[in-house]
Every structure is written in structure tokens, then in C-alpha cells.
Point group: D2
Chain length 163, copies 4
């Protein structure tokens, strides 16, 4: 089962929330599962979108309390490792979409780069300002484009920088 990671903060803009929900719905419609940090904000919106389309959602929590997961998470992985769980999300995702996002998201983007995994941004950090090469970071204009690119990353690992 392909896992598309959706990363982003707990306090996104209203537009970020709407986009995250649309991203989640599109991932489910395309037959992939969603993996995220399991909390609120972008994570909850993406899970909500995926569940509305009958998808499967995985939440990798920073805490040990499974009840901390948002109500749209099917599979709750309770790491109890705080933000070190960000690394697990990046390692487990076959492709990564960043929606909005603050410092936690920036750490996930960095870990992805460190592993040679491309991140698809939907209004997230403007990493071009740091001269990050395009094969590691691409700006998508719409949820549709973001999910399309993510599925390419996930489906054809030999043909892209993922692995």
C-alpha cells in the first residue's frame, strides 16, 4: 500500500486547511493511504478528506496517548518520542506533500532532503530562497497537481529522487 505523507502545522491558514482536506480526498480517491502526524490542523483536515472518500489514514503521534489522535485517524501509531516522530513519518512516506507548515514541518522537509526524498509544497516554506535544487523541492499550484506529483514519486521509485 502506497503511503503519501501529508505534513503541515496544527495552526494553518483557512486556505491551508481547505487545501489539506482536498489533498486528503484526492489521495484516497487515487487509492493510496495517507500518513501524517495524527494531530489537528493540516493533519486533521487531510485525514478528514481521506475518510470522506473511504481512504485509509495513519497517524504517527508524538505522544503515548492514542486518544491524542484526531478522530479521522484509522491506524494510530503512538511513538511517545515527541518530534523525533517526524523522522519516522519522513522515512515511512513514499512521497511527501507539505501544506503550509511552521518549524516542525521545516524539520520534516529537512529530513526528507537529507534522505534524498523530494517534497511537494502546497503553500509551504519557500525553500528556493535557500537554493534547494528543484529535484528536492517543487511548488505545486493546486491540490490536484500536488497529489499527481506525489503519486508519481510513490509509484515509480526508480524514476525519481525517492530512494
Amino acid at each position: 500500500m502506497k503511503l503519501i505523507g501529508v505534513i503541515g502545522s496544527q495552526h494553518p491558514t483557512p486556505e491551508g486547511l481547505a487545501r489539506a482536506e482536498e489533498v486528503g480526498a484526492l489521495i484516497a480517491r487515487r487509492g493510496a493511504a495517507l500518513i501524517c502526524g495524527g494531530l489537528t490542523g493540516v493533519m486533521e483536515a487531510a485525514c478528514k478528506g481521506a475518510k470522506a472518500e473511504g481512504g485509509l489514514t495513519v497517524g504517527v503521534l508524538p505522544t503515548i496517548r492514542k486518544a491524542d489522535a484526531n478522530p479521522y485517524v484509522d491506524v494510530v501509531v503512538a511513538t511517545g518520542m515527541g518530534t523525533a516522530r517526524n523522522v519516522i513519518i519522513v522515512r515511512s512516506a513514499d512521497a511527501l506533500i507539505a501544506v503550509d507548515g511552521r518549524y516542525g514541518t521545516l524539520s520534516e522537509i529537512s529530513h526528507a532532503f537529507e534522505q534524498g526524498k523530494r517534497v511537494i509544497s502546497l503553500g509551504s516554506w519557500d525553500m528556493a530562497r535557500l537554493e534547494i535544487p528543484a529535484e528536492l523541492y517543487v511548488q505545486a499550484a493546486t491540490p490536484e497537481e500536488a497529489v499527481e506529483l506525489a503519486l508519481q514519486d510513490a509509484e515509480d521509485p526508480s524514476d525519481n529522487p525517492i530512494f
Copy 2:
């Protein structure tokens, strides 16, 4: 979604393998998902049983390589944390069944005790020799009994030592 953890070694007895497969099948038939370490032996047999009954399987790998998962794992969580991932399995499982098992399994059993979670043994370590109280460790005679007890643990957290 309730997650039943199945823990055990990569080199079980033939009887252990058969029991693990039966445990996996019963978990799926009862509508729960299975979480395990994602590798071979007891883990693979349990996943195989679950998939034969249309269940959902989660494998929490010690490595960073998703290809290390056995072919019956649906959701591959690649921790890259070695046996520290044992803690994550214990934390995430709503109930735990140990089939056979060596030292890695013993560590998972210990972590469960430390968290106050009961472990159901199916031919695993004889923890009574260490005077572990019965509310933390119970021997099941059959896969049916093991899964029945596990579902009780998972379904009624207020009524048992889980949490």
C-alpha cells in the same frame, strides 16, 4: 480501529508459526487490525493469516528500508530505530499476544509490564517463574483463547490493565 499486537521471533517453532498464522486470521475475522514488527517468522505468519481473512496489517520495521517488510504487510512504518521500535509497537497496540519469542520479545513483554499493559502468551516466555502477577501476564491455551482475551483487553480499556 483496534490494533492487536502480535509479537514473537523470526525463528519460531513450526507450531509457533502455525499458531501465529491462526492468531492473525482470527484477529482479522474479528474485525481488528494487526500490528507487529513487520519482519519474518511469527510476524510474517500472523500477517499472512490476517491477509487471508481480508484484514489490515501494520508492520513497524527496525530498518529504514520499506522493502524489508514481509509481503503481507499493508502499512509499512519504517522507523530506522532498530529494536527501539519494540517500544513503539507496545505503545501502539491495544492488546498484545506473544507467540514463542526470544530476547526481542522479552523486551516487548517487559515494556508492556512497565506501561501496565497485559500480555497474552501463546507458548511464549514462562513469566510466572519471575512471579509476574496474573493481571499482567496470562497463558492462553489456543489461538482462539488468545484472541478472545486480546479483544477483551482492546475493547474495554477501563476494565483491564491496558492503560
Copy 3:
């Protein structure tokens, strides 16, 4: 610098506390550093003993708060990973001494076995009841014997089961 791990619970017997302090003192007198979980009980007593002899102490905390370390820890490593930090202690220690101990200690003993590392017990779990081979678990009669065996493990890695 050789690191001798001292593992044990936060609520040991008075005898356990006294032995842990003596173990810490002997480790320091022999020129090794002490690594432990950084909290109270056996951990604090061992650190106290080591500092009284001018030794160096390392505490690997489960929390993110450095202030949680006992006052005798020199180097505070704040993992924020809960009991998953037990694995880090076992991996980092060149030899391991268990004083008293409950379930957390049992998990550390198990992780050591899983890595092929010998544990020296000073009144800790009676692992012989589980038929653990003598090369993985040995009972010491006194703090002196425990530290002597630990230094052998640490000094001559080719000649013992530690790596």
C-alpha cells in the same frame, strides 16, 4: 572513556540503594565513567557514589527536561523518548550492572541479551529461572565483584560477549 551502565529502579530496597552507591564509587575509583537513566533511586545513588570519588556521570533521561536529572549527573542527555531511552543506555554502555530493578530494568536486561551483551546482576531479576545462559547473565555477590566483572567486559571486548 569506558562507560559502565548501572540500571535499576527508582524505588529500590535500602540495601539496593547502598549497593548502587558503592557500585558508583567503585566505577569512579577504577577510572571509568558511569552511564544511567539519570533519575532517582538506583540511578541517583550510583551517581552520588561516583561523584564522591571524582568520577564522571552521564544521565540519559526519558524526558526533555534537563532539570529532571538527579543532582549528581554531569552530562544530561535529554532524549524525550520515554522508556525507549533504555535502548540507548544499553547500546552505549561498555558493560552493564543491574541493581535491584523492576520492569524497566527487565526491559534493559532483555535489550542487552538481544544485542549479545552480558548483564551483571547485583540482586536484580533471577533470570536463571528463564534458563538464560550464564554467558549473558551473571550474579555478583558484592559491588566489588560486580564492578570487577564489568570492567573485564568493558576492557576486553574481544574476549567476552560484549560485541
Copy 4:
């Protein structure tokens, strides 16, 4: 004991190497201990500088093999958690200096921001381009200035964003 974290890549510029060694020396001369990732490049240079001045060095390795540490590490913490160990370094450091650095360093900088810890840059990422506020990221002109700022962060936790 105050722990000053020095983060940076394994393949720095020659100038980065020289600066890292000077930073390590200054940390030791000021009576603080150094914590880093334990490997080569910036990490090794900083440890070498610290040891030349009689300081104490702590290396938090990504691997399980203590032999992977550079020869100037006194206390080897072998996490076996890959780059998830970056989080442990950030959590444990009382102040952080980044020298040069690539994606791993960027992840550490991000984790520091996420925890509200200031990072002092010595030729590292130009985070101002991402509009990071000055209280979280400051450029130092020299090793002397970097260590001076770091000691301020470490010595007076109530007066700065650390903690």
C-alpha cells in the same frame, strides 16, 4: 555541566573546519562541555579543538557502533536511531552553534526553532531568507562571538529563548 552543541556537516569547507576547531577550543577554555553528532567533519574538528584545551566531548552517534565515533569523543552515546539522533542533540544542548552544514544541520536548526531554542550560525544556512526572527537565529562573525553568545544562552536560561 553546561553542554554547548556544535552542529555541522561531515564535509565542510576548509574554513568551516578551522572555525569548528576554534569553536571547540573556546568552549573548552570557557569550562563548558561540547555535544555533537560524534562523526567526522565539523563534529571531529570541534572535538579535536576541545580536547586540545582539555575539554570534555560528548558524541551522540546515529549508529550502534561506538567505533564510529571520531577519536576525540570522550563520551560516546550510541543511539542506533539514525538522524533521529539529531533531535536528541538539540534537546540536550544548552546552546547551539551551527558551523557550515547541509540538510542534517538544517533539520537540527528546525528542531531547535520548534523547541524555541536559539541557534548561533557561523557560516551556516542563511535562515533570514526564510524570515526567521532574530531571537531564534543569529549570525556570528567569529568563533569568539559564537561561543560568547552560546555561553550567554547556556548560562542564563531565564533570560533567553532557550527553554
